[in-house]
């Protein structure tokens, strides 16, 4: 793939996500409760995508929801869960325990090396850790090599080239230039390692505006830009909105409840489309999440 010319890349969510085939290796941007590409995740479910191989660092509702909807064959993240706050990821856990997904749990640093190898067009990069950890047993594709200079034994981790990266940004322009706020997590690495980047943005802005805010991911790496307001919700997308802990708690309860409760969740929040999603969350709640910056107490209130 060569770099993308700076043409107008605006697309509808449905058209952009239709570019993701069944069975694709999909990199999910963001991490934990920050900047998850949730609009894209929900659209993958609406389009009935199957057999996906998900890769990412530490993730939560994005992976769990895709697993719950039956879209996933293989999970290759360093963590999937809701931290100490809401605990284990219910659908991911159930599928892993039932053997209905392959769990190729990885390590953030190994995945970083694998993405860097892909970015550099190299077949592998060495990593120093992993040996002695049972994580190595989940990855028969790793090899052991001897450094030709020092004689050290190291793990060779093969290049990882996702077919598609789904990234969400607070703002971007029609040419695919994206501004992100920290934490960037692996988004920059995904952008240059993947065969295709599909970006969702809360707001489409002019090139002058995105340049002034700072371009984190350049348009020449991006294939499609989709306007998806609150497209990371229930994850945060600063500076626009904080994460929605109340909604995450509702999701975790539904996922713990089992298939019937999950079906109800999908019917209420996913199948109707993004506009219907925002309506189901409610304008007052979305405004409260966007009001995090009003005062420290308003911000803190969102977490209590």
């Amino acid at each position: 793939m060569s770099l993308h010319p700076l043409r107008d890349k605006r697309a509808s969510l449905a058209d952009a996500i239709a570019l993701v085939p069944d069975g694709a290796i999909v990199a999910l941007g963001g991490g934990l409760s920050a900047r998850l590409p949730m609009a894209g995740v929900r659209e993958l479910i609406r389009q009935g995508r199957r057999g996906l191989h998900l890769v990412g660092s530490a993730h939560s509702i994005d992976v769990d929801l895709l697993v719950a909807a039956g879209a996933v064959r293989r999970c290759e993240e360093s963590y999937v869960g809701f931290e100490q706050d809401l605990g284990l990821a219910p659908a991911y856990r159930r599928a892993a325990e039932a053997g209905s997904i392959e769990v190729a749990e990885s390590c953030c640093a190994t995945m970083l090396a694998q993405l860097r190898a892909a970015e550099m067009g190299l077949p592998f990069l060495p990593v120093r850790g992993v040996r002695g950890s049972d994580i190595a047993t989940l990855h028969p594709e790793y090899a052991t090599i001897t450094c030709p200079f020092t004689g050290e034994t190291l793990i060779a981790a093969p290049a990882l080239r996702p077919d598609v990266a789904l990234l969400h940004a607070p703002s971007g322009d029609r040419y695919g230039n994206l501004h992100l706020e920290q934490p960037y997590v692996l988004d920059e690495r995904f952008a240059s390692a993947s065969r295709m980047v599909i970006a969702t943005v809360d707001e489409l802005v002019s090139t002058e505006e995105v340049a002034a805010a700072g371009v984190t991911i350049p348009g020449h790496l991006v294939a499609a830009t989709v306007v998806a307001p609150y497209g990371a919700h229930p994850a945060s997308c600063y500076p626009r909105y904080a994460y929605d802990r109340v909604h995450l708690r509702e999701y975790v309860a539904a996922a713990q409840g089992g298939p019937d409760d999950l079906d109800k969740y999908l019917a209420t929040y996913v199948y109707g489309g993004e506009e219907s999603y925002r309506a189901a969350i409610g304008p007052e709640r979305l405004a409260a999440l966007a009001g995090w910056s009003d005062s420290t107490s308003a911000w803190r209130e969102l977490f209590s």
Binding site: S57, A58, Y79, Q84, R93, E97, G132, I135, Q182, Y243
Partner: protein
């Protein structure tokens, strides 16, 4: 003056940080997270604090939120590292200490955060190790912790799955595996504190409401107690004030069972001064 086990536990974790160290905690680790801010406000003001999943340097968060990569955690920081900047620094040996926990921890300090039961078909799939299986190889010292020692399921003879590496695994010692970091230095539990002379956990401190017999009952490996076994030093006024102001939402308590949170301690006759 009285205090609860979660406050004392966090203080015990904070005291494992030495002056001028560069220290990191993983995500989903509220006790370690609070402890690092407590240390920076009390015993280690010159430490370099790398804040969890924000990788922010020396932030002053207005509160600790219940998630590890919220923007509140980088407030007051002039700089946040990129993901790769942090991992590069850790892998080349520039990070001095990391806090690590696990659903299982063995006597050599190996931890399991991946799965209970056989990995191919786990009885319980845990969340996963984040960056631990590389970081535990190269970071200078590790402070391990658990708040679930009393369950009897956490400190085990052998982990079902080794995610993060302690002093030795069935494949060899750290030296044999080519690891440049020193491995686990401390293991702090809600019952007491272990060190690792010769690479094996040894009980060196107890909380005052816990007996050695209780520790032995709750531990899956044979517990060696130090000859000079001591009581954990009570928190100072400054340490307690730091815990309470750093963590007004008390996110640290999410790591404890309801039973543990009823443990209240008071400064009184026969105890060390807590001033």
């Amino acid at each position: 003056m009285s205090w609860t086990i979660d406050e004392w536990f966090v203080v015990a974790l904070a005291r494992t940080i030495r002056p001028a160290e560069t220290v990191f905690h993983g995500f989903g680790s509220p006790c370690a997270q609070v402890a690092m801010h407590v240390a920076r406000r009390t015993s280690a003001p010159d430490m370099l604090l790398v804040e969890g999943a924000m990788y922010a340097i020396n932030p002053d968060p207005p509160f600790i939120p219940p998630t590890s990569n919220d923007a509140s955690l980088s407030r007051g920081a002039a700089y946040s590292m990129r993901f790769e900047e942090f991992f590069d620094a850790a892998i080349r040996g520039d990070v001095d200490r990391m806090f690590l926990s696990g659903g299982q921890i063995d006597a050599a300090g190996n931890t399991n955060v991946t799965a209970i039961g056989p990995a191919g078909r786990p009885k319980v799939k845990l969340g996963g190790g984040g960056g631990g299986c590389n970081l535990s190889a190269t970071i200078g010292q590790l402070t391990l912790w658990t708040t679930r020692h009393r369950s009897g399921h956490t400190l085990v003879e052998a982990c079902d799955f080794i995610t993060d590496i302690g002093h030795r695994t069935p494949l060899g010692t750290r030296a044999e595996l080519g690891f440049t970091g020193g491995g686990p230095q401390w293991l702090v539990t809600e019952l007491g504190v272990f060190d690792f002379p010769a690479g094996r956990a040894r009980l060196v401190q107890l909380f005052p409401d816990v007996s050695v017999a209780e520790v032995r009952d709750a531990t899956g490996f044979a517990v060696e107690a130090a000859g000079d076994l001591r009581t954990v030093r009570p928190p100072s006024v400054a340490e307690l004030a730091a815990v309470r102001s750093v963590d007004p939402l008390a996110v640290r308590q999410a790591e404890f069972s309801a039973r543990e949170l009823t443990r209240v301690f008071e400064h009184g006759a026969g105890q060390d001064c807590a001033c």
